[in-house]
């Protein structure tokens, strides 16, 4: 005991200086931690970064530990140890510091990965994979530094590692860009689950999920489309945002196609025409007053009905032809009423002009019956936005069915679109505007454009 006291008396300066250096470093570290974390908190508050809590929790204690190691290193350097002892002590402290740094880096990166992978709904395997990749990378780097500290050769190991990284990069070349793009989509928050998006390539639908490889959208036909995340960040995407007001009942689009049935009946003069007209079913009158709408829908103005054309062209009677062409089918609630009007006009004309002309051979009027085939399509709309998107891409047959066929042939007072918009969306004004459109004044394409314009203005 006496020897120890004597040694301390002889070497008090050699002991005191390192101890003071160590304690001073510890005190400074306490102060620095306080200042640094306050500044860090203020910075992350401005950034509103979710990862700040993770970083603070994982580094608060190691921050202090690292300063303790710094203090130990300074103490060793100012002590009276031999140069070899100082080198050995320095290596030990540096190694402990690297181990501490590695442990902190692993802890922080694992927590951040788990936080962000959950944001892009990554399943467990890729999350674990990413964590393991980061963990191994840090450990390998740590080992390399430790070897370097202790003077061991590292070049062969670095070469082997480079080869491994290259091979892994090749194997994951398709996955990594999608993963990074998925992170970009999720972190950018420009596209969120529930948004209605439309890609430059034409695909559109509601975003139902954003995962680590692709983004899933549900189209208006109900199909699920998987878009690789890399494509999503490279193409032009229109984001319409969240759905607008939902309808109480979705609109299902139907199409109407028709077969032309030949009756084998023909007329060669006006008297025959009107006599046959009285006896034919409404579906025959429907065909001859409506088929132009479909067959010549690209023309503006469209040709008049078959009766008017035949009277003008085959019988050469421009006056009656003009009268028949002037009929506004929009005024008639049923095809039967339209037929009665045609019969009255022709009979009235015959009463004043009994000597009607005969059509040249080969130009007789052939009565044709329309056989409608109605079938449901995969398209439905739950709100006006979906409704417009469907209208933009369907065939004109669908527009025809809901604007003409349902109104006139099936004897509905208005058109299907207006009924749905009024009853299921409560958009009375918009419904009335569409109901007031006289579809016979438009080509089918311009009718489609007009309806879309009215809805988009409302939206």
């Amino acid at each position: 005991m006496g020897q120890w006291i004597q040694w301390l008396i002889d070497n008090w300066l050699n002991v005191t200086i390192p101890v003071i250096a160590f304690l001073a470093t510890y005190v400074v570290s306490l102060w620095m931690r306080r200042v640094a974390y306050r500044a860090f908190d203020r910075w992350t508050e401005r950034l509103r970064w979710e990862g700040s809590k993770v970083v603070v929790a994982a580094t608060r204690s190691p921050f202090l530990h690292s300063f303790l190691l710094l203090g130990a290193y300074i103490a060793i350097q100012v002590s009276s140890l031999s140069p070899e002892g100082k080198i050995l002590g320095g290596r030990i402290v540096a190694s402990l510091f690297i181990l501490l740094l590695g442990w902190v880096a692993i802890s922080v990166s694992e927590k951040l990965i788990k936080l962000y992978m959950s944001r892009i709904e990554a399943p467990q395997p890729p999350t674990t994979l990413a964590v393991n990749v980061v963990r191994i990378t840090i450990i390998v780097l740590g080992v390399l530094i430790l070897l370097d500290i202790w003077g061991a050769p590292t070049t062969p190991i670095i070469l082997v590692l480079a080869a491994v990284v290259f091979i892994a990069g090749l194997a994951l070349r398709d996955v990594i860009p999608n993963l990074l793009s998925g992170a970009q989509v999720a972190l950018g928050e420009q596209i969120k689950v529930g948004d209605f998006i439309k890609l430059e390539s034409g695909e559109s639908g509601h975003v139902t999920a954003i995962n680590w490889r692709n983004t899933q959208i549900k189209t208006l036909e109900g199909n699920l489309v998987l878009i690789p995340n890399i494509q999503l960040v490279r193409t032009t995407v229109t984001n319409f945002g969240h759905p607008v007001k939902k309808a109480t009942y979705p609109f299902r689009f139907y199409t109407r196609l028709h077969l032309k049935e030949l009756t084998g009946i023909k007329a060669s003069n006006l008297r025959e025409l009107v006599d046959i007209l009285k006896g034919v079913p409404d579906s025959v009158v429907y065909y001859h007053t409506h088929h132009f709408l479909e067959e010549h829908h690209y023309l503006t103005p469209e040709p008049a009905n078959d009766f008017a054309l035949w009277v003008s062209d085959a019988l050469g009677d421009e006056v009656l032809g003009e009268r028949l062409a002037s009929v506004d089918a929009f005024d008639f609630p049923t095809v039967g009423a339209l037929k009665m009007w045609l019969v009255e006009v022709i009979e009235d004309y015959l009463a004043k002009n009994p000597d009607g002309k005969k059509a040249p051979e080969g130009q007789e009027f052939h009565f044709i019956r329309s056989r409608g085939v109605i079938l449901s399509t995969p398209y439905t709309a739950h709100d006006l936005r979906e409704f417009v998107e469907v209208l933009k891409k369907v065939t004109v047959d669908i527009i025809y069915f809901h604007m003409f066929e349902s109104r006139l042939r099936l004897q509905k007072g208005t058109n299907d679109f207006s009924i749905w918009i009024k009853d299921c969306l409560g958009e009375d004004k918009l419904a009335d505007k569409i109901a007031r459109l006289d579809p016979y004044c438009y080509s089918l394409d311009s009718l489609r454009s007009t309806i879309i314009q009215l809805i988009e203005e409302r939206m």
């Binding site: 199409t255 009756t263 010549h296 690209y298 040709p303 080969g362 109605i374 079938l375």
Partner: protein, 419 residues
């Protein structure tokens, strides 16, 4: 009897159904697929008289693969017959066209005998039997034994059939569930439903697809035509019914005021002894006029026909009588203004003053040609309308749709059918 493997040799369509999306849009093809799905599980057995040669075989070789790609199980069989049998059916064909053919009782017996042999040997596996033209029409007698749905498709001009032959065939036709004709004026007074399904062109075939300027120029060079001079073109067989002399007469009158050239291009029918006479008369009439070009082009020269139509300033079809004249749709598809007679199926393709100009005489043709050559903007407007008209009404996809609708609606007499 020919089996299914042999049939595949003749399925020639190079195009896939999805290729037509570029022409008509995705929604149109989706609609066809929807119809095809509704026929899932049904087998359509289509029967005609040959796998090669003739318009029907050509149509089926294109349509059957497209049906299959839409998910519809269509299979193609042909009947077997002796040369004598086909001589009789050729007479039927001519008689239906209105020709005064004498058909003797022993010829009718031969027709029935060969038809019976086919009934005995053919495997009738289809849920719907789709029979084409008069040659296999008598197979319907099998219906009493096997039932099923039967459809008869007549591709021939029936506007003025020989009454005796038609009465004989009518007995068979009346046993079908439905019949199909190409034009309203082919309809007959029948107690079975008659549907109108006009023929159509394939926009992706060599005859109608887009051609490069170089290809067109090379065809013009081949035939010594001046690409800079407005060209009036009529593509048709050399036949009196196509009125080539009338076309020359109209051209000569137009030429007095407007510098242009005339191209009459077509082949001669090997079974038509008149065609040589017609062509020599046409050559004689055109002699000495360097702006009239008479081109004899072999069958299958689709690229040449395509190029000539595309090079034309105006396309003519001044026939005196016509079946359907799909050359009109071919020209309209190429955005060409067309002057054509108001005969056969032409008025279906041309709405006068909307998608082309109809005429009834040489005078009318002259007036129409002058209007179009002197007013390129008006001619262009008609051509654009014509293109749209064909796009919506005379493409092969519309014909496919009509057949699908017909198969789906067989047995229903309602005005509106819900599928």
């Amino acid at each position: 009897m020919t089996n299914y493997v042999e049939e595949e040799i003749y399925l020639q369509s190079k195009s896939k159904i999805q290729d037509y999306e570029s022409v008509l849009g995705r929604s149109y093809i989706e609609e066809l697929r929807m119809l095809g799905e509704r026929l899932s599980g049904k087998v359509i057995q289509t029967v005609n008289s040959t796998y090669v040669g003739g318009g029907v075989a050509e149509i089926l070789s294109h349509m059957v693969p497209l049906f299959n790609q839409l998910g519809v199980d269509v299979r193609w069989n042909v009947i077997q017959g002796t040369p004598e049998f086909f001589d009789v059916t050729k007479k039927f064909h001519n008689a239906i066209h209105g020709k005064d053919e004498k058909v003797f009782p022993e010829e009718l017996s031969l027709f029935l005998e060969v038809s019976q042999r086919n009934m005995n040997e053919m495997n009738f596996f289809g849920d719907i039997l789709f029979i084409h033209d008069p040659q296999p029409v008598a197979l319907i007698a099998k219906r009493k034994e096997i039932g099923r749905k039967w459809v008869w498709r007549c591709h021939i001009d029936m506007s003025n059939p020989n009454p005796k032959v038609w009465d004989f065939l009518r007995g068979f036709v009346l046993q079908y569930d439905a019949t199909i004709f190409s034009s309203p004026n082919f309809a007959q007074q029948l107690s079975v439903p008659q549907f109108l399904v006009p023929p159509a062109i394939d926009p992706l075939s060599d005859k109608n697809r887009e051609l490069s300027r170089d290809t067109i120029d090379s065809v013009l060079n081949k035939y010594g035509l001046d690409g800079d001079k407005p060209m009036i073109v009529q593509i048709s067989r050399f036949d009196y019914l196509k009125d080539p002399i009338g076309v020359i007469a109209a051209f000569e009158r137009v030429k007095k005021n407007i510098d242009c050239q005339l191209v009459l291009a077509g082949g001669t029918a090997t079974d038509d002894p008149e065609s040589e006479k017609v062509i020599s008369e046409v050559r004689e009439r055109a002699a000495g006029n360097p702006d009239i070009h008479i081109l004899l082009i072999p069958p299958g020269s689709d690229i040449e026909v395509n190029a000539l139509q595309r090079a034309a300033a105006v396309v003519m079809q001044k026939s005196l009588k016509e079946g359907f004249a799909l050359t009109v749709s071919e020209a309209l598809w190429k955005r060409k203004p067309v002057v054509a007679s108001a005969v056969g199926g032409i008025p279906l393709q041309i709405r006068h003053r909307f998608t082309g100009l109809l005429c009834h005489s040489i005078d009318g043709a002259v007036y129409a040609l002058r209007q179009l050559l002197a007013n390129p903007e008006y001619a262009g407007w008609l051509g654009e309308n014509g293109r749209e008209h064909v796009k919506h009404n005379f493409l092969i996809t519309r014909e496919l749709r009509d057949y699908l609708l017909l198969f789906l609606s067989l047995g229903s007499a309602e005005d509106v059918i819900y599928l």
